[in-house]
Every structure is written in C-alpha cells, then in structure tokens.
Amino acid sequence: MLGFLSDYTIQNVALGAALLGVISGVLGCFAVLRKQSLLGDTLSHAALPGVCLGFIIAGARQIGFILAGALVTGALAALLMLLLTRNSRLKTDAGLGIALSVFFALGVVLLTFIQSTGNASQGGLDSFLFGQAAAILRSDLWVMGVVTAVALSIVSLLWKEFKLVSFDPVFAASLGYPVLVLEVALTVMIALAVVVGLQMVGVVLMAAMVIAPAAAARQWSGRLETMVILSALIGMASGISGALVSALGPGLATGPLIVLAASAAVAVSLLFAPGRGLLWEIIRRARNRRNLRGKRVLTTLYRLAAHHHDSGYPSEQGMVDAYHGVGTTPVLKRLQARGLVEPVTHIPETTPHWTLTQAGIEEAESILTNLGKQES
C-alpha cells in the first residue's frame, strides 16, 4: 500500500518540502532569536509583487525570472523596513508591518492587473499565493538544493559571527565586527529561504515555515548548536509528512499541510518540552504545592508537640484536619512514607493519632529555622 512512495511527483514534492524545511528551519532560528519572527512574514508577502514583475518582464511563467523578482522585492521591503526604523521613531515591528502591507498591496494590484489583461499563460500565477507543490519539477529541486547548500555553508562558516550578532550586537560592534553587514547577510538568506518556499507553500503561509520549526526547537534545547540542528530536523519532518499526507487523497493541499505539521510540532513542544513546556510547569507547581502542604502539616505536629512539652506527643488527626481546614490523610501518608511521622494508637480513643519520628522532628526544626531566616 506504500506504493505511492515510488510515484515520481510525490518523490519530487517530498524532497522539495524536506529541503524547504531544512533551510527555513536553520535560518528561522536566527530570525526568532533576533526577535524578527515577523521578518519572514514581511519578506514572503513582499515577494508577491516580485513574482508578478518577473512574469511581466518574462512575458510568461518562467521560474528564473519569477524567483529573481521575488528576491529583489523582498530585499527592497527589508531595506524599506531598515530605513524606516533607522531614520524615524518607528520600532521594528511597525516598520515590518508597514513594509509587509505596502508590498503585498502592490503585489495584489499587479496580480489583478495581469489577470485583467487576459494573458492566457498567466494561469497558475495566483498559485504563488498559497503554493502549488505538485507543480514542482526536478529542475526546481536542483535550484532549491543549491540555494540550501549555499545558505548552510555560509551559516557554518560564519557560525561564531552570527551567534555573537544574534546575542549581543552592541558587543559585536565593539569588537570591530561589521554588525550591519552580518545582519543584512542573515536577512538576505531568509529572503532566499522564502523564495525557495514560494512554490511549495506560497507567500501567505511561508512565514510559518520560518518561525514554527525554530520556536519548537527552542523548547527542547539550551544551546544554539542543538537548536539549529533540531529546527532543521523538525522543518524536514514537517515538510515530508505534509507532502506524504497530501498524497493520500485528492484535494489535500500540500503547503498548508506542511504548515499544519510544523504547527503541531510547536504545540507539542510548548506543552511537553522538559523544563520549558506547559506540562512541566504544571507538574512543578503541583509538586511545590504538595511539598508546601507536607511542610505545613509537619510543622503543625511539631508545634502541637512543643505546646505539650512532649516530643512524642500523639496529635489527633481530627485536630490537624480542623487546623488546616481539609482532610490531611494523604499528606500524612506521604510524610509517613518519608519516615517523618508514624501512626500511634491512643487508648481509649479510636480515632487516628500521629506522632513525629526523630527524623520528623529534625526536618520540622530545619523548616522552622529556614522560615525564620527568610522573615528576618
């Protein structure tokens, strides 16, 4: 039943999606860490007028012209953003937003203009909006492969520089590194990744491919090295699984499925990643709350014993329950398991009684001294 894997088109699509996942996963890490997640969105929307201009100049749907056009208008949008933020009081997010909407509006106008001319060969130009993975050719894969290889080589050659500029650009400048050049290099490479992804997922959803794998990878890794590798792997896995799922039935669009797969990775990472995940946080809080309750019951027993001047004083559980306003059986059972308290019978009463063990007394005393230190 896995015979569809040998299908030529599916192979092309899966390979292209994998390449896209790797390049956008790696470069997305730098965009996300530099707080420029929106950059991918801006660059991809700004590619639309370039696609149209490439089409107008070539007079037909020629991929070389279209990608070159996309790269040029993407770069122009980035430049506009840079000029806006450097020479006015606008912050980066506002600059990116303005560049995005201006260029996308221009793109839509050009697109409707081309459609109105009734050029027969314009068919499929609007596939760049949402992507059309099935239209990918083996020759396109070569272009994508070369672009990915070039981008990965640059990142590994300038690893130290990119890391420094992403973490502390001011310090990088004080060491004499040309920060602006390095930042432009990163931006241009993200634009390249976007161009690679245009045919696959389209300008509207491309931003997710830049952000999602990186955001997911960040949850699992504490070092840039592992984050980048993991992000590439998550991007690749999303690409391949999106491509394969779309091959299962007709009418399942590849690009959006790839984006959904990457988003699922983000959701899982946000929930379950050790240390940073939401679940981890819930467990940590529950554990803290339980610890706190145990400490409070233990010190209650200690104070009761102290009040009666009897270290072996058998406290009646009803008293402890009443003091804490809740049933303390599970808490006492846990303290018993830790060897801090033990149950005793107190004739003639039949209700449960508890007494502190030697270890319990020491534990309670250390809790109370620490408490005193914090208060003073």
Partner: protein, 281 residues
C-alpha cells in the same frame, strides 16, 4: 558605519601621529545628537591612565551614550576621541567592554562559558572557531569572578548578579588596558557588588584604567578615585575628592536631589550629603 570599517591605511595614517598619548582617554568637542536633539553637548574630558573613574549623572544625562561614542558604537555629530593617543579603531584590542546587562536577551540558548568565550572572538578574527585554549581562558575568567561552578549553566537560569559576573568575565578575557563598564552594579546583590568592586580595584592596581557608568552616588567616594559628573555637558571632572561636592552635584541633578542633613559619618564630605531621588528608570 565608518567607525567599524577600519581599512589598513586609515589606521597606519592615524598611528603615526599621536594625540595626547599620555592620557588613557582624551575626548575633544564631542557632540552627539539623536533626532537633531543633542544628547551630549561639547564634551571635553580626559582620563589619566591607572585610575578607577566613575561617570555619574541623572537619567538621560548621556552616560551610556558617552561610553558608546568613545567605543565608536554611536556616531558623533562632531568632535573626536583618542585612546592612548590613537583613535579607537587602532586601539580596539586594548579595550574591554561590559554593556548594560539589560541590553541582551538572557533567554538566548547558550551557557555561561560560551558567553565568556565571546570576549575572545575579536582576537580570533573571522572564521576561526574557539578551541581548547579559548575554553581554558574563559574558564579562568569565570574563576576570577567566582562563577566556575556555573560554566555549563544556561544563562537564563542565572540570577541577575551572576549574569553580571558572566559579563564581567567576558570583558576580563579581553585582557585589555582600558575597561568600560556600563552600570555594572545596577540591580545586583551586595555580594556581587563587592566582588565586582574588588576585581575592578585589582585591575586598577595592575595599572589598568577602569571607567564605570555608575548610578549610586553614595558609593562614589568609597569605590572610585576619579569622577566625571555629566548632564549632557560635563559639569565637573577630576579626582573624586576635588569634584565630589554638593555644588557640582546640584548643578548636575538640579531639582532631582534632596539634600540631607549633615551626617557625622560623612565628615570628609566637603559640603552636604546628597541622595538622588529615584528616577523613572
């Protein structure tokens, strides 16, 4: 970006003519403006080598900007700076810099040792990766600031004081002659503050020049021996005992200071003790 692109010819031209070589730092007619509003106005100041100098002034006085323009990170509208007689680009290797702790995102995925090694990137130059000797140097610097046990700790898990020590260690591996620190004592615990002051004093005792943007007037006299009081212009500069007085501070802080009663502990104060009111930052 002219300050960053040091073409070889530019440097050699500058290095042949020394300008005030006996001064660690010589700033002449420096003016910096932001959106055509002057942040620093006609600054002239000198720092002799081998002192521990504080730059103080109210919020918005331009303290950080002054350091940044000396380091070529901010382009001045007018004026020039020399460091031991040469422009910054020629002296870069002799300078260590500790930016404000809040200037970076401490959630960046890296550990303390990695951050310290970044101090060596300037010496490594392009393409070369840090290796075993760089790790050893960084480890040694972490020991100097008492952070050797935290080398592989995620920087997001460090306390504010520990993060500041890591930043200081990153400057220490630069093996500089002049150190610039931007508010190194802001928001750190008392132990860290003591540790930082001790390290800075040791550097000074080795003949190095230490320049600190400082926010706490109460400790100026006990920590520093040289003082620059700044509020867009230079209000006063010189040895702390000559410069630290109520007249100068009132000139700099204006309505922002409340004069306190003369205190027996502060007998050596030439005038009255002043305490700045907490500003918005």
């Amino acid at each position: 970006m002219s300050a960053r692109s040091d073409t070889e010819t530019g440097i050699t031209d500058m290095t042949t003519t020394l300008h005030e070589p006996d001064l660690a730092i010589h700033v002449e007619d420096l003016t910096v403006s932001y959106h055509s509003k002057p942040v620093l106005w006609d600054i002239d100041f000198d720092v002799p080598p081998g002192v521990m100098a504080a730059i103080v002034g109210p919020n918005g006085a331009g303290k950080s900007t002054l350091i940044k323009s000396i380091l070529g990170l901010v382009k001045p509208t007018a004026g020039h700076v020399t460091i031991h007689g040469r422009p910054y680009q020629a002296q870069r290797r002799r300078i260590g810099y500790v930016p404000q702790r809040s200037s970076v995102d401490w959630d960046f995925p890296t550990n303390a040792l990695d951050v310290v090694m970044m101090g060596l990137y300037g010496q490594l130059g392009w393409l070369r990766r840090p290796g075993r000797s760089e790790r050893a140097e960084a480890m040694h610097a972490l020991e100097l600031v008492g952070m050797q046990d935290y080398a592989s700790r995620q920087i997001s898990q460090l306390s504010g004081g520990q993060q500041q020590r890591v930043f200081l260690a990153r400057a220490l591996v630069q093996q500089a002659d002049i150190y610039f620190l931007d508010e190194p004592m802001a928001g750190v615990d008392a132990t860290t503050e003591r540790a930082i002051v001790d390290i800075l004093r040791k550097l000074r005792d080795q003949g190095k020049t230490v320049i600190v943007v400082h926010h706490d007037l109460q400790t100026v006299r006990s920590y520093f021996d040289w003082l620059v009081i700044l509020n867009v212009r230079v209000i006063a500069q010189g040895p702390v005992r000559d410069v630290y007085n109520a007249t100068n501070l009132r000139k700099a802080y204006g309505g922002q200071i409340a004069l306190l009663e003369r205190d027996a502990v502060l007998d050596d104060a030439p005038d009255a003790e002043v305490v700045p009111l907490r500003g918005p930052n």
